[in-house]
Symmetry: C4
Subunit: 192 residues, 4 copies
């Protein structure tokens, strides 16, 4: 069994997730510039989540390239990741509509944390099926970003109850860290 259909299905789900988020940006009734103002936080949270989903798509792209065949367990590990990603439009909308108040900010971080956890499970399963000495295993060996980002999400969740701006700063920081493409995997797949 090849990885094509797994990629195609994941692409489909991620493409829909990234696009339905924009539906939270509801068309205002008035036609003035002032009618756009309440949409600014919704727009900003859309931008942030677009980048996060883009990062996951990008890294997913690299991760599956190291994969030669698919098992039932991998299909479910992948669906588990897609499940948590599918909640991002909800948390994005809630955070945007409530001008970044504490509980929505914390929930946003919690879903990011669960996505990171699901990613880690998927990555671990792929390493398990391919052996500890595979290119992927070596590549993710010192997965620094993978270790830092959950800490940043946790910091964002805790600080959501102290200072909203601080919390946002942690989420933006984690996104910026990931925006730099994953050289380890890119290099590893290139070497194959």
């Amino acid at each position: 069994m090849d990885t094509n259909r797994l990629e195609a299905f994941s692409d489909g789900v991620i493409a829909i997730i990234i696009t339905i988020m924009v539906l939270e940006l509801k068309v205002p009734h008035g036609s003035g510039l002032a009618d756009l103002q309440p949409l600014i936080p919704v727009f900003l949270s859309y931008v942030l989540s677009f980048i996060y989903v883009g990062i996951y798509w990008n890294n997913h792209h690299h991760l599956l390239h190291t994969l030669s065949h698919v098992t039932g367990g991998l299909l479910w590990a992948n669906l588990h990741l897609l499940f948590w990603l599918s909640l991002i439009p909800f948390t994005t909308g809630w955070m945007g509509e409530n001008h970044f108040s504490s509980v929505p900010l914390a929930l946003y971080g919690f879903v990011l944390l669960m996505c990171a956890f699901a990613w880690w499970v998927l990555q671990a399963r792929i390493v398990a099926t391919q052996g500890r000495r595979s290119t992927l295993a070596l590549a993710v060996g010192r997965d620094l970003k993978g270790k830092i980002s959950p800490v940043l999400y946790l910091a964002g969740i805790v600080s959501a109850f102290l200072n909203g701006y601080l919390s946002e700063a942690f989420y933006v920081l984690a996104a910026l860290m990931w925006l730099v493409p994953d050289r380890r995997l890119e290099k590893a797949t290139h070497e194959r």
Copy 2:
């Protein structure tokens, strides 16, 4: 005519079904933890349906792998399955919004039953085009899960009018039974 486009189209429809279900999880107006409480049943029914649609995608993936060419009848048997699957977001939303009361629970089970029926028709047609001695025919010969699940759905529908929790238990049980990947098909396609 090859099976690629049939797979791609089915993947597209299933990916959209699994993702638009999350739209039932409507962003609440308040920003407190209490505002999330009414969403808990909606969330739980989303989780259950996500697993069901995931199961169908997973098994569909295996089923089509046993197929070498597509006929007009197969295209329609497949569309028939997609039709019933497309009703899952509706029954999921209704069940979730009504805190698992009887009629929505029964309708949820009815649509699952029709999906199982449509699956059985599709499987039978594939066996018919490939001959009674094909790998698929032998693999599904003693299709135990395929025979138990309609019974569980029926039990869920009947018990919906007696005890909501019992009804849900049947639906969860059927999902758990299917979560175990279909070894028969996986083995059969592997042996080819």
Copy 3:
């Protein structure tokens, strides 16, 4: 330039059209069987449109199989077809919500008529690029169904203002006629 991406994009759009139609089936607030009753016409029009979009997908599948390369004009003829198909969810929803009253019924038929026209344009362009003696040209030579269906749609539009049931009967009849797979094309592509 190959036809793969044209197929993939068309599949994507058609998959979304067929799936967002179900969003018109809005979750009712009550939880009784009576709350489902107003949804019956919406459901029936969903079934009819699901079949129509399924027919177009099915025939589109056959049509593109006769195509060896794509030109700019073909891309736009295909987008033109997708445009009219994309209006089906709207006309389906309007027809369903108004219990099949005259103007919505007529508009439903008008969009079907435009889809048939767009199909005819696409088919003509493909024949033009492949020559009058191509398999497709010979296959569609006596395109009986393609000539009958616009007449049925027109009959449906006119009778919408006389008798709603008669109008619906014409649309159902046209769908039934197309449900039979297009043997001419299926045969033609098979012979290649």
Copy 4:
């Protein structure tokens, strides 16, 4: 790393964008012809945006055909383009619902301008990875349409505050200009 998955993902997102725009065409409650009248501007703006998204899909199709491999930077340049395209349903809906009043008209043009900018960035990156003497570099050398269209969008934005019809005329003109397929690229990819 090949370009297939980049194409597939872009196709998915563009297919969803083009299709969710139709959701702004909300089913009216009444069933008369008069109930359709307020939808006319929404419909017209849908037609215009459908053509714009179609143009981008069409040209994207040609652009990626000149590409042999994908880098991390290209993935993000492509996501950047998809981001701005994803805002078109919002600006289309706002413009349609407000009968083409000035701020919505200007915002519509602004998003088109940003799409053009994102396209230019993507094109420049592809030329950069493939060298100044590549077929693409030579083909886009005198990119006349690419230079005229931002001027037309700017003219549309400015005139939105003077005369709505003039502004619309600029957007329609730019679309018509692009409707003619990009012979330069089509020729260049053909010659390869």
